[in-house]
Symmetry: C2
Protein backbone atom coordinates (compact mmCIF):
# COMPACT_ATOMS: atom_id res chain seq x y z
CA UNK A 1 0.00 0.00 0.00
CA UNK A 2 1.68 3.24 -1.20
CA UNK A 3 1.51 6.31 0.98
CA UNK A 4 -0.35 9.21 -0.66
CA UNK A 5 1.97 12.25 -0.72
CA UNK A 6 -0.63 14.43 1.00
CA UNK A 7 -1.25 11.99 3.84
CA UNK A 8 0.74 11.02 6.88
CA UNK A 9 2.16 7.50 7.23
CA UNK A 10 2.72 4.82 8.07
CA UNK A 11 -0.39 3.46 6.35
CA UNK A 12 -2.61 1.86 8.97
CA UNK A 13 -3.58 -1.56 7.67
CA UNK A 14 -4.44 -3.36 10.92
CA UNK A 15 -8.13 -3.29 11.83
CA UNK A 16 -7.13 -3.93 15.45
CA UNK A 17 -4.91 -0.83 15.69
CA UNK A 18 -5.38 0.42 19.27
CA UNK A 19 -6.18 4.00 18.26
CA UNK A 20 -8.78 2.81 15.74
CA UNK A 21 -10.31 0.44 18.28
CA UNK A 22 -10.49 3.27 20.79
CA UNK A 23 -12.22 5.50 18.23
CA UNK A 24 -14.69 2.78 17.22
CA UNK A 25 -16.07 2.84 20.77
CA UNK A 26 -17.42 6.31 19.93
CA UNK A 27 -20.33 4.63 18.17
CA UNK A 28 -21.73 4.17 21.69
CA UNK A 29 -23.41 7.12 23.40
CA UNK A 30 -22.01 6.27 26.84
CA UNK A 31 -18.45 6.36 25.50
CA UNK A 32 -19.05 9.63 23.65
CA UNK A 33 -20.40 11.21 26.84
CA UNK A 34 -17.51 9.91 28.94
CA UNK A 35 -14.75 11.03 26.57
CA UNK A 36 -16.61 14.09 25.16
CA UNK A 37 -15.57 13.05 21.65
CA UNK A 38 -17.49 11.96 18.58
CA UNK A 39 -17.01 10.67 15.05
CA UNK A 40 -17.43 12.80 11.96
CA UNK A 41 -17.83 10.91 8.68
CA UNK A 42 -17.47 11.84 5.05
CA UNK A 43 -15.69 14.61 3.16
CA UNK A 44 -18.32 17.32 3.61
CA UNK A 45 -18.63 17.03 7.38
CA UNK A 46 -14.87 16.58 7.92
CA UNK A 47 -14.29 19.69 5.78
CA UNK A 48 -16.66 21.70 7.98
CA UNK A 49 -14.94 20.41 11.13
CA UNK A 50 -11.55 21.41 9.73
CA UNK A 51 -12.82 24.83 8.65
CA UNK A 52 -14.07 25.45 12.15
CA UNK A 53 -10.73 24.31 13.55
CA UNK A 54 -8.94 26.94 11.46
CA UNK A 55 -10.75 29.59 13.46
CA UNK A 56 -9.30 28.30 16.72
CA UNK A 57 -6.00 29.80 17.84
CA UNK A 58 -3.05 27.37 18.00
CA UNK A 59 -2.98 27.70 21.80
CA UNK A 60 -6.62 26.66 22.05
CA UNK A 61 -5.92 23.30 20.45
CA UNK A 62 -4.43 21.75 23.53
CA UNK A 63 -2.94 18.35 22.91
CA UNK A 64 -4.90 15.80 24.92
CA UNK A 65 -1.79 14.13 26.36
CA UNK A 66 -0.49 17.30 27.98
CA UNK A 67 -1.30 18.04 31.60
CA UNK A 68 -1.89 21.43 33.13
CA UNK A 69 0.04 22.74 36.14
CA UNK A 70 -2.54 21.67 38.68
CA UNK A 71 -2.34 18.10 37.41
CA UNK A 72 -5.79 17.83 35.80
CA UNK A 73 -5.53 17.04 32.10
CA UNK A 74 -6.77 20.08 30.17
CA UNK A 75 -9.52 19.51 27.64
CA UNK A 76 -8.88 20.20 23.99
CA UNK A 77 -10.84 23.19 22.74
CA UNK A 78 -14.51 22.59 21.90
CA UNK A 79 -14.72 21.21 18.37
CA UNK A 80 -10.99 20.46 18.18
CA UNK A 81 -10.22 17.90 15.47
CA UNK A 82 -8.16 15.24 17.26
CA UNK A 83 -7.67 12.59 14.58
CA UNK A 84 -8.42 12.26 10.89
CA UNK A 85 -8.10 9.02 8.94
CA UNK A 86 -8.58 8.86 5.19
CA UNK A 87 -8.06 6.42 2.37
CA UNK A 88 -5.68 7.25 -0.48
CA UNK A 89 -8.75 7.43 -2.69
CA UNK A 90 -10.29 10.14 -0.51
CA UNK A 91 -7.08 12.18 -0.66
CA UNK A 92 -7.08 11.90 -4.44
CA UNK A 93 -10.72 12.87 -4.81
CA UNK A 94 -10.68 15.74 -2.34
CA UNK A 95 -7.33 17.57 -2.63
CA UNK A 96 -8.97 20.63 -1.04
CA UNK A 97 -9.38 18.63 2.16
CA UNK A 98 -5.61 18.23 2.42
CA UNK A 99 -5.16 21.98 2.05
CA UNK A 100 -7.82 22.72 4.63
CA UNK A 101 -6.25 20.23 7.02
CA UNK A 102 -2.82 21.81 6.55
CA UNK A 103 -4.28 25.27 7.21
CA UNK A 104 -5.94 23.90 10.34
CA UNK A 105 -2.64 22.33 11.48
CA UNK A 106 -4.21 18.86 11.39
CA UNK A 107 -2.46 15.79 10.02
CA UNK A 108 -4.46 13.20 8.13
CA UNK A 109 -3.32 9.62 8.56
CA UNK A 110 -3.71 7.13 5.74
CA UNK A 111 -5.71 3.97 6.34
CA UNK A 112 -7.00 1.17 4.15
CA UNK A 113 -10.80 1.03 3.59
CA UNK A 114 -11.16 -2.05 5.82
CA UNK A 115 -9.83 -0.05 8.75
CA UNK A 116 -12.18 2.85 8.12
CA UNK A 117 -15.09 0.43 7.98
CA UNK A 118 -14.52 -0.19 11.72
CA UNK A 119 -15.55 3.39 12.39
CA UNK A 120 -18.69 3.91 10.31
CA UNK A 121 -22.14 2.45 10.44
CA UNK A 122 -23.12 3.57 6.95
CA UNK A 123 -23.74 1.00 4.27
CA UNK A 124 -21.82 3.04 1.71
CA UNK A 125 -18.54 3.14 3.56
CA UNK A 126 -17.07 6.58 4.02
CA UNK A 127 -13.60 7.44 2.84
CA UNK A 128 -12.68 9.79 5.64
CA UNK A 129 -13.47 9.89 9.35
CA UNK A 130 -12.43 12.31 12.09
CA UNK A 131 -12.51 12.21 15.87
CA UNK A 132 -13.68 15.57 17.15
CA UNK A 133 -14.07 17.06 20.62
CA UNK A 134 -17.65 17.83 21.67
CA UNK A 135 -18.58 21.41 20.85
CA UNK A 136 -21.67 22.18 22.90
CA UNK A 137 -21.65 25.42 24.83
CA UNK A 138 -23.29 26.45 28.14
CA UNK A 139 -26.94 27.51 28.03
CA UNK A 140 -26.27 31.00 29.37
CA UNK A 141 -23.88 31.69 26.52
CA UNK A 142 -26.56 31.44 23.82
CA UNK A 143 -29.73 32.44 25.67
CA UNK A 144 -28.67 36.05 25.95
CA UNK A 145 -30.08 39.49 25.22
CA UNK A 146 -28.84 39.40 21.61
CA UNK A 147 -30.52 36.12 20.71
CA UNK A 148 -33.37 36.63 18.25
CA UNK A 149 -34.21 33.06 17.22
CA UNK A 150 -33.56 29.90 19.23
CA UNK A 151 -34.59 26.35 18.40
CA UNK A 152 -35.31 23.95 21.26
CA UNK A 153 -35.68 20.21 20.64
CA UNK A 154 -37.46 18.48 23.51
CA UNK A 155 -37.73 14.68 23.61
CA UNK A 156 -36.87 14.45 19.93
CA UNK A 157 -35.76 10.85 19.56
CA UNK A 158 -35.06 10.29 15.87
CA UNK A 159 -31.42 11.08 15.01
CA UNK A 160 -32.28 12.11 11.45
CA UNK A 161 -35.03 14.48 12.57
CA UNK A 162 -32.78 16.16 15.11
CA UNK A 163 -30.00 16.61 12.56
CA UNK A 164 -32.33 17.93 9.88
CA UNK A 165 -33.90 20.41 12.32
CA UNK A 166 -30.43 21.60 13.28
CA UNK A 167 -29.58 22.12 9.60
CA UNK A 168 -32.77 24.15 9.10
CA UNK A 169 -31.99 26.25 12.17
CA UNK A 170 -28.58 27.03 10.69
CA UNK A 171 -30.07 27.89 7.28
CA UNK A 172 -32.66 30.19 8.86
CA UNK A 173 -29.95 32.05 10.74
CA UNK A 174 -31.05 30.94 14.20
CA UNK A 175 -28.67 31.86 17.00
CA UNK A 176 -28.46 28.41 18.56
CA UNK A 177 -30.04 24.98 18.91
CA UNK A 178 -30.80 23.61 22.36
CA UNK A 179 -31.24 19.85 22.63
CA UNK A 180 -32.79 18.91 25.97
CA UNK A 181 -31.46 15.99 27.98
CA UNK A 182 -34.47 13.83 27.12
CA UNK A 183 -33.61 13.99 23.40
CA UNK A 184 -31.39 11.96 21.10
CA UNK A 185 -27.63 12.49 21.44
CA UNK A 186 -26.67 15.25 19.02
CA UNK A 187 -23.31 13.47 18.51
CA UNK A 188 -25.02 10.30 17.26
CA UNK A 189 -23.40 9.52 13.86
CA UNK A 190 -26.80 9.67 12.12
CA UNK A 191 -27.57 13.07 13.63
CA UNK A 192 -24.13 14.38 12.68
CA UNK A 193 -24.67 13.18 9.09
CA UNK A 194 -28.15 14.74 8.89
CA UNK A 195 -26.84 18.14 9.93
CA UNK A 196 -24.75 18.17 6.71
CA UNK A 197 -22.06 20.20 8.46
CA UNK A 198 -24.38 22.61 10.28
CA UNK A 199 -23.28 21.13 13.62
CA UNK A 200 -20.05 23.07 13.02
CA UNK A 201 -21.83 26.31 12.10
CA UNK A 202 -24.32 26.95 14.85
CA UNK A 203 -23.84 26.86 18.65
CA UNK A 204 -25.45 23.82 20.28
CA UNK A 205 -26.45 23.32 23.91
CA UNK A 206 -27.13 19.85 25.33
CA UNK A 207 -28.06 18.23 28.63
CA UNK A 208 -30.50 20.85 29.90
CA UNK A 209 -34.15 20.59 30.93
CA UNK A 210 -36.96 22.37 29.12
CA UNK A 211 -38.23 24.33 32.19
CA UNK A 212 -34.74 25.77 32.73
CA UNK A 213 -34.48 26.77 29.04
CA UNK A 214 -37.92 28.39 28.98
CA UNK A 215 -37.32 30.29 32.18
CA UNK A 216 -33.98 31.69 31.06
CA UNK A 217 -35.29 32.57 27.58
CA UNK A 218 -38.18 34.49 29.10
CA UNK A 219 -35.87 36.24 31.55
CA UNK A 220 -33.73 37.38 28.62
CA UNK A 221 -36.75 38.79 26.80
CA UNK A 222 -37.64 36.04 24.30
CA UNK A 223 -41.14 34.66 23.81
CA UNK A 224 -41.27 30.87 24.16
CA UNK A 225 -43.50 29.26 21.52
CA UNK A 226 -44.55 25.62 21.54
CA UNK A 227 -45.14 24.11 18.10
CA UNK A 228 -48.28 22.18 18.91
CA UNK A 229 -51.27 21.25 16.79
CA UNK A 230 -53.65 20.85 19.72
CA UNK A 231 -56.04 23.70 20.51
CA UNK A 232 -55.97 26.26 21.89
CA UNK A 233 -53.18 27.39 19.62
CA UNK A 234 -52.38 30.40 17.48
CA UNK A 235 -52.49 29.83 13.72
CA UNK A 236 -48.97 30.17 12.28
CA UNK A 237 -50.37 31.83 9.16
CA UNK A 238 -52.61 34.41 10.84
CA UNK A 239 -50.78 35.12 14.12
CA UNK A 240 -51.89 38.77 14.24
CA UNK A 241 -55.52 37.72 14.53
CA UNK A 242 -54.82 36.30 17.95
CA UNK A 243 -52.25 38.82 19.05
CA UNK A 244 -49.11 36.82 18.34
CA UNK A 245 -46.13 38.73 16.98
CA UNK A 246 -43.83 36.41 15.02
CA UNK A 247 -41.34 39.21 14.43
CA UNK A 248 -40.55 39.25 18.16
CA UNK A 249 -37.49 37.47 19.52
CA UNK A 250 -38.52 33.83 19.80
CA UNK A 251 -37.48 30.48 21.23
CA UNK A 252 -39.33 27.74 19.33
CA UNK A 253 -39.93 24.46 21.19
CA UNK A 254 -40.47 21.25 19.19
CA UNK A 255 -41.58 18.03 20.85
CA UNK A 256 -41.45 14.33 20.22
CA UNK A 257 -42.12 12.84 16.76
CA UNK A 258 -45.01 10.69 17.96
CA UNK A 259 -46.58 12.34 20.98
CA UNK A 260 -45.59 15.99 20.53
CA UNK A 261 -45.27 18.11 23.66
CA UNK A 262 -46.72 16.73 26.90
CA UNK A 263 -49.00 19.11 28.80
CA UNK A 264 -46.28 19.85 31.36
CA UNK A 265 -43.86 20.93 28.63
CA UNK A 266 -46.46 23.04 26.91
CA UNK A 267 -47.26 24.71 30.22
CA UNK A 268 -43.76 26.17 30.53
CA UNK A 269 -44.14 27.88 27.12
CA UNK A 270 -45.83 31.26 26.63
CA UNK A 271 -48.11 30.13 23.82
CA UNK A 272 -48.79 27.26 21.44
CA UNK A 273 -48.75 27.72 17.67
CA UNK A 274 -50.25 25.32 15.14
CA UNK A 275 -49.28 24.92 11.51
CA UNK A 276 -52.58 25.08 9.61
CA UNK A 277 -53.47 21.79 7.93
CA UNK A 278 -55.35 22.75 4.77
CA UNK A 279 -55.58 19.20 3.42
CA UNK A 280 -56.35 15.82 4.95
CA UNK A 281 -53.00 15.05 6.60
CA UNK A 282 -53.37 14.86 10.37
CA UNK A 283 -49.89 16.02 11.13
CA UNK A 284 -46.46 16.79 9.72
CA UNK A 285 -43.15 15.08 10.17
CA UNK A 286 -41.12 16.78 12.91
CA UNK A 287 -38.35 18.08 10.67
CA UNK A 288 -40.77 19.57 8.13
CA UNK A 289 -42.92 21.12 10.87
CA UNK A 290 -39.81 22.66 12.42
CA UNK A 291 -38.66 24.01 9.05
CA UNK A 292 -42.00 25.71 8.41
CA UNK A 293 -42.13 27.33 11.87
CA UNK A 294 -38.48 28.40 11.96
CA UNK A 295 -38.60 29.90 8.47
CA UNK A 296 -41.85 31.69 9.26
CA UNK A 297 -40.14 33.38 12.19
CA UNK A 298 -37.07 34.17 10.11
CA UNK A 299 -39.30 35.72 7.42
CA UNK A 300 -41.16 37.87 9.95
CA UNK A 301 -37.96 38.93 11.65
CA UNK A 302 -36.32 39.93 8.35
CA UNK A 303 -39.11 42.01 6.94
CA UNK B 1 -53.07 -20.84 16.58
CA UNK B 2 -56.54 -19.61 17.50
CA UNK B 3 -58.50 -17.59 14.99
CA UNK B 4 -59.29 -14.08 16.21
CA UNK B 5 -63.07 -13.54 16.01
CA UNK B 6 -62.66 -10.38 13.92
CA UNK B 7 -60.37 -11.99 11.36
CA UNK B 8 -60.97 -14.43 8.57
CA UNK B 9 -59.52 -17.95 8.68
CA UNK B 10 -57.96 -20.33 8.19
CA UNK B 11 -54.89 -18.89 9.91
CA UNK B 12 -52.06 -18.76 7.38
CA UNK B 13 -49.01 -20.33 9.02
CA UNK B 14 -46.99 -21.36 5.97
CA UNK B 15 -44.38 -18.84 4.87
CA UNK B 16 -44.48 -20.38 1.39
CA UNK B 17 -48.23 -19.81 0.91
CA UNK B 18 -48.60 -19.01 -2.83
CA UNK B 19 -50.57 -15.81 -2.27
CA UNK B 20 -48.03 -14.53 0.25
CA UNK B 21 -45.16 -15.42 -2.07
CA UNK B 22 -46.89 -13.58 -4.90
CA UNK B 23 -47.38 -10.52 -2.70
CA UNK B 24 -43.78 -10.58 -1.51
CA UNK B 25 -42.66 -9.96 -5.10
CA UNK B 26 -44.17 -6.49 -4.73
CA UNK B 27 -41.02 -5.43 -2.91
CA UNK B 28 -39.53 -5.18 -6.44
CA UNK B 29 -40.33 -2.10 -8.54
CA UNK B 30 -40.59 -4.09 -11.78
CA UNK B 31 -43.24 -6.37 -10.31
CA UNK B 32 -45.19 -3.45 -8.87
CA UNK B 33 -45.19 -1.75 -12.28
CA UNK B 34 -46.24 -4.94 -14.08
CA UNK B 35 -49.09 -5.81 -11.73
CA UNK B 36 -49.97 -2.22 -10.77
CA UNK B 37 -50.14 -3.25 -7.13
CA UNK B 38 -48.18 -2.31 -4.04
CA UNK B 39 -47.75 -3.14 -0.37
CA UNK B 40 -49.11 -0.99 2.43
CA UNK B 41 -47.64 -1.67 5.88
CA UNK B 42 -48.73 -0.84 9.39
CA UNK B 43 -52.02 0.07 11.04
CA UNK B 44 -52.03 3.78 10.15
CA UNK B 45 -51.45 3.34 6.42
CA UNK B 46 -53.77 0.34 6.13
CA UNK B 47 -56.46 2.35 7.91
CA UNK B 48 -56.11 5.16 5.37
CA UNK B 49 -56.27 2.68 2.49
CA UNK B 50 -59.45 1.16 3.93
CA UNK B 51 -61.00 4.58 4.57
CA UNK B 52 -60.38 5.48 0.95
CA UNK B 53 -61.89 2.17 -0.17
CA UNK B 54 -65.09 3.01 1.72
CA UNK B 55 -65.58 5.93 -0.64
CA UNK B 56 -65.54 3.63 -3.67
CA UNK B 57 -68.88 2.28 -4.79
CA UNK B 58 -69.30 -1.50 -4.52
CA UNK B 59 -69.42 -1.74 -8.31
CA UNK B 60 -66.09 0.02 -8.64
CA UNK B 61 -64.29 -2.66 -6.68
CA UNK B 62 -64.13 -5.15 -9.50
CA UNK B 63 -62.85 -8.51 -8.42
CA UNK B 64 -59.59 -9.17 -10.22
CA UNK B 65 -60.62 -12.66 -11.38
CA UNK B 66 -63.66 -11.42 -13.30
CA UNK B 67 -63.37 -10.71 -16.99
CA UNK B 68 -65.16 -8.05 -18.99
CA UNK B 69 -67.25 -8.78 -22.07
CA UNK B 70 -64.47 -8.02 -24.54
CA UNK B 71 -62.28 -10.62 -22.83
CA UNK B 72 -59.73 -8.26 -21.33
CA UNK B 73 -59.57 -8.61 -17.55
CA UNK B 74 -60.92 -5.41 -16.02
CA UNK B 75 -58.68 -3.64 -13.53
CA UNK B 76 -59.83 -3.20 -9.96
CA UNK B 77 -60.60 0.42 -9.14
CA UNK B 78 -57.62 2.66 -8.42
CA UNK B 79 -56.66 2.25 -4.78
CA UNK B 80 -58.78 -0.86 -4.30
CA UNK B 81 -57.65 -2.89 -1.30
CA UNK B 82 -57.16 -6.42 -2.65
CA UNK B 83 -55.75 -8.31 0.33
CA UNK B 84 -55.17 -7.59 3.99
CA UNK B 85 -53.21 -9.85 6.30
CA UNK B 86 -52.93 -9.22 10.03
CA UNK B 87 -51.72 -10.97 13.13
CA UNK B 88 -54.12 -11.72 15.98
CA UNK B 89 -52.17 -9.20 18.02
CA UNK B 90 -52.87 -6.46 15.46
CA UNK B 91 -56.60 -7.26 15.54
CA UNK B 92 -56.57 -7.01 19.31
CA UNK B 93 -54.68 -3.73 19.39
CA UNK B 94 -56.62 -2.02 16.61
CA UNK B 95 -60.29 -3.04 16.84
CA UNK B 96 -61.20 0.09 14.84
CA UNK B 97 -59.36 -1.43 11.88
CA UNK B 98 -61.73 -4.39 11.85
CA UNK B 99 -64.71 -2.02 11.82
CA UNK B 100 -63.23 0.06 9.02
CA UNK B 101 -62.49 -3.09 7.03
CA UNK B 102 -66.05 -4.32 7.47
CA UNK B 103 -67.43 -0.95 6.36
CA UNK B 104 -65.15 -1.09 3.33
CA UNK B 105 -66.30 -4.65 2.52
CA UNK B 106 -62.76 -5.98 2.94
CA UNK B 107 -61.91 -9.20 4.74
CA UNK B 108 -58.77 -9.39 6.83
CA UNK B 109 -57.03 -12.76 6.87
CA UNK B 110 -55.16 -13.91 9.92
CA UNK B 111 -51.48 -14.80 9.59
CA UNK B 112 -48.70 -15.60 12.02
CA UNK B 113 -45.93 -12.96 12.43
CA UNK B 114 -43.39 -15.12 10.54
CA UNK B 115 -45.61 -15.00 7.45
CA UNK B 116 -46.03 -11.23 7.63
CA UNK B 117 -42.26 -10.86 7.92
CA UNK B 118 -42.05 -12.13 4.31
CA UNK B 119 -43.80 -8.95 3.18
CA UNK B 120 -42.04 -6.16 5.01
CA UNK B 121 -38.55 -4.74 4.88
CA UNK B 122 -38.80 -2.88 8.16
CA UNK B 123 -36.65 -3.95 11.06
CA UNK B 124 -39.55 -3.54 13.47
CA UNK B 125 -41.91 -5.97 11.81
CA UNK B 126 -45.37 -4.67 11.03
CA UNK B 127 -48.48 -6.38 12.29
CA UNK B 128 -50.64 -5.71 9.28
CA UNK B 129 -50.00 -5.52 5.55
CA UNK B 130 -52.31 -4.87 2.60
CA UNK B 131 -51.99 -5.33 -1.15
CA UNK B 132 -53.48 -2.30 -2.86
CA UNK B 133 -54.08 -1.38 -6.49
CA UNK B 134 -52.05 1.56 -7.80
CA UNK B 135 -53.95 4.80 -7.45
CA UNK B 136 -52.21 7.28 -9.72
CA UNK B 137 -54.41 9.30 -12.03
CA UNK B 138 -53.82 10.79 -15.51
CA UNK B 139 -51.98 14.11 -15.72
CA UNK B 140 -54.85 15.93 -17.41
CA UNK B 141 -57.17 15.07 -14.56
CA UNK B 142 -55.22 17.10 -11.98
CA UNK B 143 -53.60 19.79 -14.09
CA UNK B 144 -56.87 21.55 -14.74
CA UNK B 145 -58.33 25.06 -14.49
CA UNK B 146 -59.32 24.55 -10.83
CA UNK B 147 -55.86 23.52 -9.66
CA UNK B 148 -54.31 26.17 -7.43
CA UNK B 149 -51.27 24.39 -6.00
CA UNK B 150 -49.40 21.48 -7.58
CA UNK B 151 -46.21 19.81 -6.40
CA UNK B 152 -43.87 18.29 -8.99
CA UNK B 153 -41.00 16.01 -7.94
CA UNK B 154 -38.39 15.71 -10.68
CA UNK B 155 -35.52 13.23 -10.35
CA UNK B 156 -36.14 12.89 -6.62
CA UNK B 157 -34.38 9.63 -5.76
CA UNK B 158 -34.68 9.19 -2.03
CA UNK B 159 -37.87 7.29 -1.08
CA UNK B 160 -38.15 9.04 2.28
CA UNK B 161 -37.82 12.50 0.76
CA UNK B 162 -40.48 11.79 -1.85
CA UNK B 163 -42.89 10.46 0.75
CA UNK B 164 -42.29 13.34 3.15
CA UNK B 165 -42.81 15.89 0.35
CA UNK B 166 -46.07 14.17 -0.56
CA UNK B 167 -47.20 14.36 3.07
CA UNK B 168 -46.40 18.08 3.18
CA UNK B 169 -48.28 18.65 -0.09
CA UNK B 170 -51.32 16.98 1.45
CA UNK B 171 -51.04 19.03 4.67
CA UNK B 172 -50.75 22.27 2.70
CA UNK B 173 -53.90 21.44 0.75
CA UNK B 174 -52.16 21.02 -2.61
CA UNK B 175 -54.36 19.67 -5.39
CA UNK B 176 -52.00 16.92 -6.51
CA UNK B 177 -48.45 15.59 -6.52
CA UNK B 178 -46.77 14.75 -9.81
CA UNK B 179 -43.80 12.39 -9.65
CA UNK B 180 -41.86 12.43 -12.93
CA UNK B 181 -40.67 9.23 -14.52
CA UNK B 182 -37.05 9.93 -13.56
CA UNK B 183 -37.96 9.86 -9.87
CA UNK B 184 -38.21 7.17 -7.23
CA UNK B 185 -41.24 4.86 -7.42
CA UNK B 186 -43.98 6.40 -5.31
CA UNK B 187 -45.11 2.84 -4.44
CA UNK B 188 -41.74 1.98 -2.91
CA UNK B 189 -42.50 0.69 0.63
CA UNK B 190 -40.27 3.37 2.17
CA UNK B 191 -42.06 6.11 0.24
CA UNK B 192 -45.45 4.75 1.21
CA UNK B 193 -44.39 4.70 4.86
CA UNK B 194 -43.04 8.26 4.72
CA UNK B 195 -46.32 9.60 3.36
CA UNK B 196 -47.98 8.53 6.65
CA UNK B 197 -51.23 7.85 4.80
CA UNK B 198 -51.20 10.96 2.59
CA UNK B 199 -50.77 8.76 -0.49
CA UNK B 200 -54.46 7.91 0.03
CA UNK B 201 -55.53 11.55 0.49
CA UNK B 202 -54.10 13.42 -2.45
CA UNK B 203 -54.17 12.57 -6.17
CA UNK B 204 -50.81 11.39 -7.51
CA UNK B 205 -49.58 11.32 -11.11
CA UNK B 206 -46.60 9.18 -12.14
CA UNK B 207 -44.63 8.33 -15.25
CA UNK B 208 -44.69 11.72 -16.96
CA UNK B 209 -41.87 13.98 -18.13
CA UNK B 210 -41.21 17.42 -16.68
CA UNK B 211 -41.55 19.32 -20.01
CA UNK B 212 -44.99 17.82 -20.54
CA UNK B 213 -46.08 18.76 -17.01
CA UNK B 214 -44.77 22.33 -17.28
CA UNK B 215 -46.38 22.87 -20.66
CA UNK B 216 -49.78 21.63 -19.55
CA UNK B 217 -49.65 23.57 -16.27
CA UNK B 218 -48.86 26.78 -18.14
CA UNK B 219 -51.62 26.10 -20.66
CA UNK B 220 -54.08 25.73 -17.79
CA UNK B 221 -53.01 29.05 -16.29
CA UNK B 222 -50.57 28.04 -13.55
CA UNK B 223 -47.15 29.59 -13.07
CA UNK B 224 -44.37 27.00 -12.98
CA UNK B 225 -41.79 27.75 -10.28
CA UNK B 226 -38.49 25.93 -9.93
CA UNK B 227 -37.18 25.69 -6.38
CA UNK B 228 -33.55 26.47 -7.10
CA UNK B 229 -30.88 28.15 -5.01
CA UNK B 230 -28.76 29.20 -7.99
CA UNK B 231 -29.03 32.78 -9.23
CA UNK B 232 -30.82 34.36 -10.91
CA UNK B 233 -33.71 33.48 -8.66
CA UNK B 234 -36.50 35.27 -6.84
CA UNK B 235 -36.20 35.40 -3.05
CA UNK B 236 -39.01 33.34 -1.50
CA UNK B 237 -39.33 35.85 1.33
CA UNK B 238 -39.47 39.04 -0.76
CA UNK B 239 -41.10 37.86 -4.00
CA UNK B 240 -42.87 41.18 -4.61
CA UNK B 241 -39.54 42.98 -4.94
CA UNK B 242 -38.87 41.07 -8.13
CA UNK B 243 -42.42 40.91 -9.40
CA UNK B 244 -43.28 37.37 -8.31
CA UNK B 245 -46.80 36.78 -7.03
CA UNK B 246 -46.90 33.77 -4.71
CA UNK B 247 -50.66 34.04 -4.33
CA UNK B 248 -51.07 33.09 -7.99
CA UNK B 249 -51.93 29.51 -8.97
CA UNK B 250 -48.62 27.66 -8.88
CA UNK B 251 -46.94 24.40 -9.85
CA UNK B 252 -43.78 24.00 -7.72
CA UNK B 253 -40.96 21.92 -9.21
CA UNK B 254 -38.42 20.29 -6.87
CA UNK B 255 -35.29 18.60 -8.20
CA UNK B 256 -32.82 15.99 -7.12
CA UNK B 257 -31.46 15.84 -3.54
CA UNK B 258 -27.83 16.23 -4.62
CA UNK B 259 -27.74 18.12 -7.89
CA UNK B 260 -31.02 20.05 -7.84
CA UNK B 261 -32.59 20.93 -11.17
CA UNK B 262 -30.43 20.60 -14.28
CA UNK B 263 -30.37 23.64 -16.57
CA UNK B 264 -32.73 21.96 -19.06
CA UNK B 265 -35.33 21.32 -16.36
CA UNK B 266 -35.04 24.82 -15.02
CA UNK B 267 -35.50 26.17 -18.55
CA UNK B 268 -38.99 24.71 -18.85
CA UNK B 269 -40.09 26.57 -15.70
CA UNK B 270 -41.29 30.18 -15.70
CA UNK B 271 -39.01 31.33 -12.88
CA UNK B 272 -36.65 30.08 -10.23
CA UNK B 273 -37.18 30.82 -6.55
CA UNK B 274 -34.55 30.48 -3.83
CA UNK B 275 -35.12 29.96 -0.14
CA UNK B 276 -33.00 32.62 1.56
CA UNK B 277 -30.13 31.14 3.58
CA UNK B 278 -29.63 33.51 6.50
CA UNK B 279 -27.05 31.35 8.27
CA UNK B 280 -24.03 29.36 7.12
CA UNK B 281 -25.79 26.26 5.74
CA UNK B 282 -25.20 25.95 2.01
CA UNK B 283 -28.47 24.22 1.27
CA UNK B 284 -31.49 22.51 2.74
CA UNK B 285 -32.61 18.91 2.66
CA UNK B 286 -35.12 18.36 -0.16
CA UNK B 287 -38.11 17.59 2.05
CA UNK B 288 -37.57 20.62 4.28
CA UNK B 289 -37.01 22.90 1.27
CA UNK B 290 -40.22 21.61 -0.29
CA UNK B 291 -42.14 22.14 2.94
CA UNK B 292 -41.00 25.76 3.22
CA UNK B 293 -41.89 26.58 -0.42
CA UNK B 294 -45.22 24.76 -0.45
CA UNK B 295 -46.35 26.29 2.82
CA UNK B 296 -45.27 29.74 1.67
CA UNK B 297 -47.54 29.38 -1.37
CA UNK B 298 -50.37 28.02 0.77
CA UNK B 299 -50.00 30.99 3.13
CA UNK B 300 -50.06 33.50 0.28
CA UNK B 301 -53.01 31.80 -1.37
CA UNK B 302 -55.03 31.78 1.86
CA UNK B 303 -54.55 35.39 2.88
Amino acid sequence: MDLHPGLQGPVITRTDSPRIKEASKLSRRAWRTKTRRFLVEGPQAVREALERQRELTPAAVTLPNRTSEDGAPPRPAAGAVLDVWATAEAAQRHPDLLETAAAARVRIRQVIPEVLAQLTDTVASQEIVAVVEHLDVPLGQVVNRDARLLVVLSQVRDPGNAGTALRVADAAGADAVIVTSSSVDVYNPKTVRSTAGSLFHIPVVTGVGLPEVAELARARGLQVLAADAHPPAHDLHVPWDTGLDLSARTAWVFGNEAWGLPEADRAVCDAAVAIPLYGKAESLNLATAASICIYESARNQQV
